[in-house]
Structure formats: structure tokens, C-alpha cells
Amino acid sequence: MNSNNNMEKQTIQQRRNFLLQSAGGFGAAALQGLFEIDSQKAEAKKKTINPLSAKTPHFPASAKNIIFLFMEGGPSHIDLFDPKPILNKLAGKPLPESFTKPVTAMGEASSPLLASPRKWKQHGEGGLWFSEWLPHIAGCADDIAVLRGCWTNGINHAGGVCQMNTGMPLAGRPSLGSWVTYGLGSENENLPSFVVIKDSKTPVVNGPRNWGAAFMPAVYQGTRLETGKVPIPNLFTPKGILEQQQQNKLQFLNTLNNNHLNSRPQQTELDARILSYELAFRMQSAAPEVVDLSKETEETQKLYGMDQKKTKVFGRNCLLARRLVEKGVRFVQLYHGAGSKWDSHKQMEKKHPALCKGMDQCVAGLLKDLKRKGLLETTLVVWGGEFGRTPMSEGGDGRDHNPTGFSMWMAGGGVKGGQTIGATDELGLYAIEDRMHVHDIHTSILHLMGLDKMKVEFRHKGRPERPTQNEGDFMKKLITG
């Protein structure tokens, strides 16, 4: 007990020293005030009042962190991962009678089938199929498990994006990132535990609701990281206020808050409020540091395609994702094509290759970089959109939304690469083998992160709520092959 106390004291001292040295915005003077409540008791309390303190997984996890690469708008699986030779033979004809006609967003169920003039090749030892649109990712084939049997319910972007994030097409449930944060806590309290980065200023479909915590406390929601000088809103002392001025304010605030707290013992929420200012201060130095890429070598930046115009933005985001994961951020979500850019109702042959080009090398760079740094083993990388695209044409040269069958892929975090799991029918319309509903996908992600979908439980209005609403199975083939 005694030695424990000493150790705690020591840690506090170390941390205080660290903070004093790295004092940026809030500053040293303020900190002294912030730590006036320091004591073993306060430190122990801090653990209980910080809901983001790290938690033990339900079983040994193969993945500690996750990078979810969200291709917003719905990439065409039949042009990227799932070749359909028969489609080209039947091109121009309507969907054969033997197929059940789906309800589609733009009503293209009866439109003629559209050929996929791709050049397909098998890659790696596993012989995974990739089209010529993804030459770089194809080079990582042996790290990748392609899931060809994915399906979802939402036929529109709003429902689809909402479902891939929350499990349900209807709004109102917490996002997967929130559940993971709730279940595992954070390994780095100086940074948000769940970070979202977009590739453009265009808002994503459904907006911030996609990374919202819904009925869970806001502490579990995702934080959007801007890639400019101010990565998190209001991070820095506002213009026109001197640093010393700000430090005096914080010190005075701290005096007021501590006086208030002292006359109200046993009210932990007041402790939490004082702690929140402490955490805010630490974020002030940690967040700018993590977005500062100047320390990355030219070679690394090139690996991500940051030297080329078309891959510069997403390459940078992928590199940021690696840096965040390195710092212990639990859940990183990158949006590519924010605002439904993958949505190719028209001109498939023009839109898709440009999007692939803007993403392919960056993603491959991320996989390679994670691997050489030894991070891929514990980082699960997930690639996919909210749905796929139909074999039927739209407007002659586009494809409609296809929620009934599409591909995603996973790599790292214990996933066995070089394998294809599941299949769609001859035309790529319906998933038919090793079908994975979004609930199965989520359950599998949770499982790889050491979380049992039934044990992650949050009581809301008296009811036990769980991330997949009790549905979904872990796809064992992901680890066994």
C-alpha cells in the first residue's frame, strides 16, 4: 500500500514535470493551480472519473487499434475485387428472369446490364483478384482478406452510411467507434480516443451524426481532426489574448473552482470538471504534435503519394492515421470521397478510375508503412463503402446502388491475408456465400479487438443496449483462413 502510494506520487511528479516542460498554451503557472488537488486520493478518483481510462478486453485481442477507410458513396465491387465474366456476355440485356428484382435507389432494376471492361489479374500467393484500377493495393494482396459476401439494408446513402457506422439504417444508435471507445477506453488520454478525418471540406452524408454517440454520453463520440494548424476547434488561446493573460485566467479559474469544490465534498462531477481543463491543456500540446508531419522522411511521404497532386491529400490522411495509431488512438476513421464522391450513377469509367487513383497508392503506402513499423500486427485496417454498385446500368454508363452484395476488405490486426471470403452470384448482384451483413462485419471487428458483442453493454432507459443489437457472427475465416 505504502509503496503504491509512493509510486503514485512519483508518477504525478513525473507528469507534472513533463507538463511544465512542455507548457504551451495553458502554461506552467496555471498548472500549479491545476495540480493543487493532487493527492493519492485525487489520483485514484481521477481514474474513476475519467470514463476514457483504458479497460481490459473480454478476450485476448489481436487488434489494439483500427483504421477504417470509408469510401463514401459506394465503390463498385464488380470493377475492383469481384470479376464477373458473365456480366460482359450479358451486357445490354436485362437482368435474367431467374434473378429477383431488387428495389434500387434510382429504379434501375430493369435497366440493361452494364459491362465491366476491366483487366483482371490474380495477385500474391493467395491469388487474389484485383482490377487494373488498384495496382498498388494489389501489391499488398497477401496482407488482405477480401470479403465478397457483404450486404446491408439501406438502399440510399443516408441509410447505408448510417448503417455501416452504427449498424442500423435509421438514425439513433451510437457509432461503432463510440462502442469501441466505450468498451476499451483510450491508451492516450492526451488525444481523443476516436478520431475522424475527411479528405475535403464537403460534408459527409448525415454529417457528424456518423461518429456520434447517440444515447451514450458525448465523451464517447468521435472528434473530427482538421489537418490544418488548428486540428481541434478552440484548441489554442484565441487571438488578441496574451499567453500570460490566459495563464492568469486559468489560475484564477482554478482557484475559484477549487474553493467551490472544497465546500462541496463528495461531488465527483466537480472534480471531473477541473480534470477536464487539465486534459484540455494536455491536448493543446499533443494534438499539434501529432499532425505535424515535418518529422516524417521524404521517403515515407513519397510512400503515401504525398509528392503527387492527386494523392497528396489522402496520402497525408493515411500517414496521419498511422501517427495517431502509433500514439495509441483507438479508432481512426478516414473518409475518402466525402460527400458521396464514389457514387457513380453516371460515367463509371471516368469517375471510378480517378477516385481509385486518389486512394490506391495512399492505402498501399499505409499498409506497407504499418507493416515495416511492426504496427500492422496490432492495427486492423478496414476498407469499404456503404454498399456496392449494380451490374445493371444507369443512364447508359453508370451503376445504381447495390446493398444486396458488395465487397470490403480487412488487413492486419490478426487477419489472415491472401484470402477471399464469400461470393456474390454470377452477376455480382446478391451475396450468396459466406454472407456478411453489417452486423457480422461489426461483430468481427469487435471480436478482433477483443470485444464480445454481447458483453459490450450500455444501459439506456433501463434497457441493455449492445453494439450490434445482439445480432451478427464473427467470421472465423478471417483468422483461420
Partner: protein
Amino acid sequence: MKSLSAKFYILSGTLLLGILLFGIPVGMTASVFAEDSSTTKTVKPTKSGKTAASSESKISNKKKLLFFESKVRPILIAKCYECHSDKKQKGDLRLDSLASILHGGESGPAIVQGKPGESLLIESINYDSYEMPPKGKLDKKSIDVLTQWVQSGAYWPNADLTKKVASHKKVTFTEEDRSFWSFQKVVKPAVPKTDQSVWNKNAIDSFISQKLNAEGISPSPLASRETLIRRVYFNLIGLPPTPEQIESFLKDESSDDVAFAKIVDQLLESPHYGERWGRHWLDLVRYAESDGYNQDAFRPTIYHYRDYVVKSFNQDKPYPKFVTEQLAGDETDPNNPEAIAATGYLRHYLYEYNQRDVRTHWQEILNDITDATGDVFLGLGMGCARCHNHKFDPILQKDYFRLQAFFTPILPRDDVPLATPEQLAEYQQKIKIWEEKTANLRKKIDQDLKEPFETLAKKQIGMFPPDIKEIMAKKFEDRTPIEHQYADLVNRQIIGKHKKYLDDLKAGKNKKRDNIRLLYLELDKLNDIKPKDIPMGMSVTDVSRIAPKTFIPGKKKKTEILPGFLTLLSPGTAKIMNVTAPVQSTGRRTALAQWITQPDNRLTTRVITNRIWQFHFGSGLVPTSSDFGHLGDKPSHPELLDWLTTYFVENGWSFKKMHRLILNSRTYRQSSSHPDPPSAELKDPSNRWHWRADIKRLQAEQIRDASLTISGELDTKLGGPSVKAEVPRRSIYVIVKRNIKDPLLGAFDFPGGIKSTSSRNRTTTPTQSLLMINGPWMLNRAAAMAKELFTQKLKVDKAMIQKAYLLAYGRKPTESELKSSFEFLDKQKELSQKKENPELVALTDFCHVLLNSSEFLYLD
């Protein structure tokens, strides 16, 4: 009303859309709102029943016996008994004795003697509701026989009607289910007699102190007047008391009890009371002002519902009236614009503007309304029973759809004027003149728009699945009620396209048809003789007098579910009375409102009583205030809950009377600091026995509104269209979008408006603190506050600091606080010497720190 509103739509802003949809046939786009929608099919059996009536009314008993044995019984045996006799009792129905037939099955009595038109059996064999027998329709002769038999009184030899028919089905509910606390009758208990006479101010205190005594915990002393006035102001009106109000309360020489009671009375008369307490209700009904989904389009007229709620609280509307107006104002009080606005309650579902799967979308809308209604009024997680019988509570899957069946007939309306008949008449008189003057011009515009509008409609309809296209191809009068509901969803998409087309055209983007733009300009010239538009909120009516059938989705066998309440509490189907109002309506929602507001309803009365307690204390006597089932918490003080429930109902369901009772109790007026917290905490860590007042963080709106109040910027205007967050009005009037929350309100747990929220989260995060200390909004409030304090002075003085403390904390600073304040101010002045007004800069910093501090953000 119906015709008025349809016409009105034509006359309002979207003139041409109206004409195209209601007047000139555009074929497929004909809307449900058209006047001839009353020509829906009548029920067949009534007709056949009538023909049977005259010829068969005078047969003797002997003839009746012969008729029964030779004609009726053979049909029953051959066609019905396989499923409805001693072997099987499908739908809990037997047809082998008159008693059983009259008792009926799950859907109610099978026949009404002498009235084939009201007999389910006759409906079913005509395939009008059920389709019986399912293997194939009876031949016409058999149908006539059974119809005649019912018409003639349904003679049955040696019928014994004295025997009570028990349900044939096995009992679904266990004794445990039935004895669960929230399903027991509310019985008013005697107020306990306790010795602590000092503490016993009213009945509430007796119940509370009885429990505290039993647990061996002593209560906290009375809170100070400074604490109490701040507590009760934020609680009742959501704003802090002004220094003058505090001053006068502190100086009031009457007893503590009397002085406080006066404050309570004053606040309950304040129009701001409704703004604060109405917001609690808005949380529950998931109020927001956008569609959700991707587009998240703004709903510019839904604020009429918000204003209705605020007004209702201010008027202390009895709860039954409040409930009835929201569920069925269009049926019960159709000429009252407030009651129409109230039905906005049924419009808070999410809507997707481009969803082609209209069947699923409509079902989701109904589910959303059903879930919310279960949460808000019943305090039960009905949503759990949507897919299966509830796993923990005695709620059947059927019960979910029995509840849904009350809503199945609704049709969303955006065209019902919120005006009295007098206002409407006046409007129509004025618009007539304008109509006459513009007739030619409008006709011309209509003609020019007909072709492009038709093309757009056709293209839009082309995107829907084949079955929906078929519905749209039907003539308006040939559509069934549910088809009207689907068509309405399709029409909304067409209207959207038309609107866009018109907007583009008017903006000069359509060169080809620029002539129409010019015609509109002509039309605009006559605007000065056009009366001002009458507002239209978002409301509902029923689609017709005949309700579309409610089914349990996914079940192979389609059995119609009729409206009903929890089977455990009232097993039969709900009695639906015809509504007399001049509207096309089923009366179903009125029946639901009546049930919810019955004085002896065990659930609903307790649920609302508990909510009132919750909003005063932060937590209900039942903490899970929207779950009174097995998964919820049990009441901490069951007798008190029942006593309060009875009090509420007996006192005219008045919120304000309840407030007076609760607020004047000693329990409410306790201090938040207890003489010996560790010992009490040991026994009751979560303070469920009320041994002290809980400290409470201000809620999002309270933080924003209080900041604006003490900075002197708040515009206290009541009601009206919502405004942007930059406008310094109360937060209840700030636009609420479902996809993006205002940063400040969102950071402090403002609810999302997607699901019913019964109690808000209370989050403390670093990003929240960053927003408070670095964000421009709070900095601006501090600057304004400082300016207001500083006025014409040259130097910061003691009075300013005292006032700032009074404004932010509701109390004056102590000597040592004054000292440290001036120390801080001096430091800041020193640093700001180069700035224009160092005194003001320092004072701004001081105010900003106060606005960031716990004492401002928390209530004792």
C-alpha cells in the same frame, strides 16, 4: 375543413403546384388532398345485409330452426370448424356455440345479431377484412345464407348464453406478470405520521422523512435563500434571478415558507415558465426542425408545434387535454388552430426525401411514432416488442401493433391552415378579389407549366418499384387508403422536383421557358391586393374513414391487428367511437388519447407524475422514467408515487398545482450540503432517499440563456419562427437540426431529436472546456457583460465585482473573494497596459473566468 384546406393550398405560395395537383388532372400526380377523397368504397356487407333484411325479418322460430339446421350449420361444419371448433381455435375463435360466436376471438365478437354490416364474420366471408375461409371464398349462395342468418338474429337452437366463455387460448401472462408493481391499481395511501414535526411541511415530506428515519439518515438543513432563489429560477424559468430579484427576496420579512411560496407563484405566472418546462416535453417527443437522413432539410413550420407546447404549459393546460390535442386534435377540435398545430406531435419522425422504397419507409415512420408514443406516454419500451414478444415485460408483439394500429390511418399534412373559421372566411373574401384579377394570368402560367411538370412527374415516378408505379397509374378514387399514403410519399418527391424547377425558372436559369418567369413577374405586380398568407404547420389527419389494415410484418399469415391497448391491462380491442367532427377520420387516435388519459390508467398517470418529480429533482422516484418495466428501476418511494399520482389526477391534472406542492416541500428546499455526508453516503450513495439536494449542472440551454442574460444581451421575445444561434434569443428558439448540433448546445448534451429523450446525459469533456475557455461565443458574452458592468466608469470598482458575482452566482463575494478578484484584475491590467482600455480588458477576463467557473455552471 377538408375542402377549405385543399382550396387553401391552391391559394398559398405554391400556387401552381396546388393547381396541378388538385385541379387540372396531371394524371399520376393527383394528390390525396383532393376534395373527392371521400368517395372511398363502402363496405360491401352493408349492402348485402340490407337486401336480406326485408325478406327474412319475419320468419318464425320453427322456420328459423329449419333454416339453421338445413342451411347454416352445414356451411359452418364444412367450411369453418376445421379451424374454429373443439380441435383448433385459430385467432382464439370458436364458431360451434352462439356464446362463443358472440364472445368472439382476438379481433372481437364474430357477429352482432341482426347487423351483418357490423359483423366480422360477414366481413371475413366477403374477403373485406379477413379472408375466410382462407382456402377459397364461399359461393355467393352460402354468403347470402350466413348473411341472412345474422340479419335474422342468428338463431341457435338451445343456445346457453349464461355460460361465460373463457379464452380458449392458454394464459399468456403469469401471475408474476400481473402482480408487477406498475400494473397495479393506483391506490392513494394514507400519509404517514412521523414525529419530525419540524421537517414535515407537507405530505411529500412525511413520506420522505419516514423513509429517512427508517434508514437512519438525517435530512439536510434548509438551503439558504440565495441558494433557493437561484435553484428555483433555473428550475421553473431556466434563467437566473436578477440582482434586484435576489435583493427583494432576501429582504422579504415574511417567514421562509411564505417568502418562497411567493416566488414560486410569481415564476409560475411568468411566460418564461413555458419556455423551460415546454423544453422538457420537446426532449420527450424528440422535437427537432429538420428531416434527418442525408438532406436533413429544414422544417420551417414545425415551430408552431413548439409554440403550442410552450403556450400549453403557460396556460397550465390539464394533461388530458394536452395529450388529446397532440394525438388527435384534428379529430376532437378541428376548428381550433392550436389543436391542429398540436398534431405536429405525429410529425417528428425522420423523413427521407429520395427514398423509393416507400413501403418500408412508411412502415418505419409508423414504427417511429409507435416507439415514441410507448416511451412518452406509457413509459414502456414498446420498441422491444416490435420483432418479438418482449423478453422481460408482459408486452406481446401483438401489443406493439395494436398500439400502431391507432396510427395506421394517419396522413401527414402540410396544408391545413392554422386559422379559425372566422380568419379563414375573411381570408377567402380577400383572396377572391385577387383570384379574379389574376385568373387569366394564372391560367396562362398553368398551361405553360403543364408539360414540363408532367414530364418531371413521369420521370420521378419512373424511379419507383413496379408496384408503386401501378398505384400512381391508378385514378385517384380507385386507390385504397394505404395506396393514398404511399402515393403521398411519392407526391412529396414530385413536389420537390416541381419546386426546384420553379425556383430555377424564377431565378432565370431556364432560358427556354423564360416567358413563364416574366408571367410570374406580372403576377407579382398584383401582390398588394393579395392578403397575407395564413400559416400552415405540420399536422396530420386520417387518410379516410376506413383505416388501412395493420399487420405484423414478416408473418406468413396476414391477420389484421385491430387497435388495442396492452393485452395484460385490457385484453379486448379498443372501442372506437365515431368522431363527429366534420373530418374524414377513423376516431382511432381519439380512442387512444381517451385511454391514456383515463384517471384510472395505472401506467400513464404514474409515468407523467414521475416525470414532474424528475424535472424538479434531476431524477425520478422511478429513475428510469421512460421504462416502468422489469428492466427499469423500481420506485424508491412507491407510496409517495401513488399518493402524488392521485393528487395530480384529483387536482385537475394541473402541472402548476403539482409544482407548488413539490417546490414548497422541505424536501425540495434542502441544502446540498449535509452535516455528515460520509455516513449518509455510506447508506445511500446515490441519494435516492433524498437526504440532501443534488448539485446539478446547468443544462445546455440554461448555460446559453444565462450567459446571454447576465451579459445583458438576451432578447426575451416569445415564440415565432426559429432563429440562428447568433441571434441572442432564448435557446428554445434556436434552429435545431438533427444532423448538426449547435457547438455550444451540443457540447452540453443537447439531445439529438431522433429518439425520445427522458433524461439528458451530463458530459464533461476536454473539448467542452476548450470551447468554454477559448471559444469565441463565451468570450463575446464576457466582453458584453464587462461593458454592461463598466458603463461610463473609468475604473473597475467594488460595486462592479459585487454585481458580477450576483449576476453569475446569485450571491455577493466574501471579503477574501473580493481581495483575490482585485489581485487578478490588477495582474490583467498590468499585462494590458498597451491596450486601449486595460480596465475593461481586465474586467472582461474576470467575467470570462466567472462564466467558465463551476459555481456558475452548477446549481446547489
